[in-house]
């Protein structure tokens, strides 16, 4: 499997990472090297092997249906780069 420059650009869009044109070539090479290395796994027969779902045998803890959070608008907004009237502000979304 190989990762061409077009794929690198596409992945960049998916991951919301701006990639400049002069980075594409290098990234494509580096990522290809890593992908080739991943091919080691192809030799492993994993027929009928369940993917690891939980690292430790524990059952999922359930919380009670109680309101234990919220009412902390000031704290939630304290680190916001841009906020007004209790809202987070971001560049306008055009739908």
């Amino acid at each position: 499997m190989s990762l061409d420059k077009e794929t690198v650009r596409k992945i960049g869009v998916l991951a919301r990472l701006e990639i400049s044109e002069d980075e594409v070539e290098g990234l494509s090479k580096e990522m290809n090297d890593i992908l080739n290395w991943f091919e080691k796994l192809e030799q492993v027969n994993t027929d009928g092997v369940a993917p690891m779902a939980s690292v430790v045998n524990q059952s999922l803890h359930w919380r009670k249906d109680e309101i234990t959070g919220g009412e902390i608008q000031d704290k939630v907004l304290a680190n916001a780069p841009d906020s007004e009237d209790g809202y987070f502000l971001v560049p306008k979304v055009v739908e």
């Binding site: 596409k10 869009v13 998916l14 919301r16 993917p51 779902a53 939980s54 524990q58 059952s59 999922l60 803890h61 359930w62 919380r63 009670k64 249906d65 109680e66 309101i67 234990t68 959070g69 919220g70 009412e71 902390i72 608008q73 704290k75 939630v76 907004l77 841009d82 007004e84 009237d85 209790g86 809202y87 987070f88 502000l89 971001v90 560049p91 306008k92 979304v93 055009v94 739908e95």
Partner: protein
């Protein structure tokens, strides 16, 4: 009665499937302790997790699990004892984590069904494909500022059940009936309040068409977030017609997400959302698989309330109601409860007619819910009782009902105070009849001469003279006896 579109090249059938997002009734969110209540100040029902703060982790709300299982049981569906939460990855302003926690491959509920009843055609069974739990996103407002969007995360993290139907519906009417029935079931179960205006129930509609008689499934389009039953029907009508037109002009339908514009009654493409769609689902490593025991499910099953279909069947056998009436009465849990309270020791058919007729009319006029009815179920029952035991006539009962609406008084009290009791004393009625006969000898002759229609006029005159209180049966008999012998 079937719904077909007559095109230029032939007849087309519509194939519809619905994905309904129903907000789970719970105090707190699916994975955080933030409140779910609607209409709060922005970002006040937000816990650190809901805002996607670094290092915050999800812990599942047990009530949301119960609600999903209850709903599954109510849809006669398979409950999956092991389900998995996945991350659906995408970027959006109202998605603070950068992913939605959802269930992709292994949902909590599998296949089930919903039965749709119609007044004038056979029932239709719509299959349920699956039901899964997921978190809601926040809300963006785009009209507050020329260059900025305002983000409120109060809804972010609220538990939703996504209920996916099979493509088993064939008309806009089916889709509306399905939504209505689903809403009824959810409200019976108490798992979702079904309020479409507040967005606690939202529907995505999948539409495709095919030539009549074919069983192929053609490319479908998904119409997002249609938020009323009327809009669902309009959206389907428009979209199905669009498909037919595209096919008939030699074109192809592209699978895509479309938006319904309610002001124009049409759907339009949301290409922007389609761009580079790749959700990269994978099991959420912050959560372990959700495992349920048989006992847990059985316990919930044993405590499930009576469901609308069961209640309808019981109303038919226990009260001898027809299918349609029973269906109307069970459509809202509150109506059914009202009916059952009113019907104790009364004539069921008569009570049903009063509930569906006068009471529904009055509530609609007053803009009130049945749970908030000015006439209590007990009083309505008593009113029907007074009709049945001939204390008042059906006509007088309507007047009494109007007074009950205004005063909230018991019908007996009104009848007593206003002196509306029916006259059944034959002597008293005879006296009135004699008086009217004596005053109208010419008309008596006309009747005896064969113009029996005039008898009705005499009934009216006598009723008037008795101020409507004469028992109509007795009055009729005496009149006939006296005039025709």
């Amino acid at each position: 009665m079937s719904y077909y579109i007559q095109g230029e090249t032939g007849t087309w059938e519509v194939v519809i499937g619905l994905e309904v997002h129903a907000q789970v009734t719970s105090n707190a969110k699916l994975f955080s302790g933030g409140a779910t209540q609607f209409g709060a100040e922005p970002n006040t029902h937000v816990d650190f997790l809901d805002a996607g703060m670094p290092g915050m982790l999800p812990v599942i709300n047990e009530e949301c699990i119960r609600q999903a299982v209850r709903t599954g049981l109510g849809l006669k569906a398979k409950i999956n004892l092991r389900s998995v939460f996945d991350r659906k990855n995408y970027f959006y302003a109202d998605l603070p984590l950068g992913y939605q926690i959802s269930q992709f491959k292994d949902p909590i509920v599998g296949e089930g069904e919903v039965v749709l009843d119609y007044k004038d055609k056979p029932s239709r069974v719509v299959g349920i494909e699956r039901l899964h739990l997921e978190i809601d996103a926040g809300k963006s407002q785009h009209d507050q500022h020329p260059t900025k969007s305002f983000i409120d995360l109060n809804r972010a993290g609220v538990a939703l059940m996504e209920i996916v139907s099979k493509p088993d519906m064939r008309s806009p009417e089916d889709a509306a009936a399905y939504l209505k029935k689903l809403r009824t079931i959810l409200r019976y179960l108490g798992t979702c309040d079904g309020n479409m205006e507040e967005g606690s129930m939202r529907a995505d509609v999948n539409v495709s068409v095919r030539p009549k008689g074919s069983d192929e499934l053609r490319t479908r389009c998904e119409i997002k977030n249609v938020n009323s039953m009327r809009f669902v029907q309009q959206a389907i009508e428009f979209e199905a017609m669009r498909h037919v037109e595209v096919y008939e002009s030699g074109g192809e339908i592209v699978q895509e997400t479309r938006l319904f514009d309610s002001s124009k009654g049409e759907t339009r493409s949301m290409r922007s959302k389609e761009e580079a769609h790749d959700y990269r689902y994978f099991p959420d490593p912050d959560l372990l698989p959700l495992e349920l025991s048989e006992e847990f499910v059985e316990d919930l099953k044993s405590r499930l309330p009576e469901l609308p279909d069961d209640k309808k069947d019981r109303f038919m056998t226990e009260y001898g109601l027809n299918a349609y009436d029973a269906g109307v009465l069970v459509a809202e849990k509150e109506t059914a409860t009202y009916f059952e309270e009113a019907v104790v020791e009364r004539d069921p058919k008569l009570v049903a007619n009063w509930v569906m007729g006068d009471l529904f009319g009055a509530l609609k006029r007053l803009g009130r819910e049945i749970s908030d009815s000015p006439v209590s179920a007990k009083h309505l029952g008593e009113l029907v009782g007074l009709i049945s035991n001939d204390t008042i006539s059906g006509k007088i009962a309507k007047d009494v009902f109007e007074i009950m609406l205004e005063t909230g008084d018991a019908p007996e009290k009104i009848v007593e105070e206003k002196g509306l009791k029916q006259v059944t004393d034959t002597g008293a009625i005879e006296a009135i009849v004699d008086e009217i006969i004596a005053a109208n000898p010419d008309k008596v002759e006309e009747i005896r001469g064969g113009k029996e229609k005039l008898l009705g006029w005499f009934v009216g005159q006598c009723m008037k003279a008795s101020q409507g209180k004469a028992n109509p049966g007795i009055l009729n008999k005496i009149l006939k006896d006296k005039i025709l012998g």
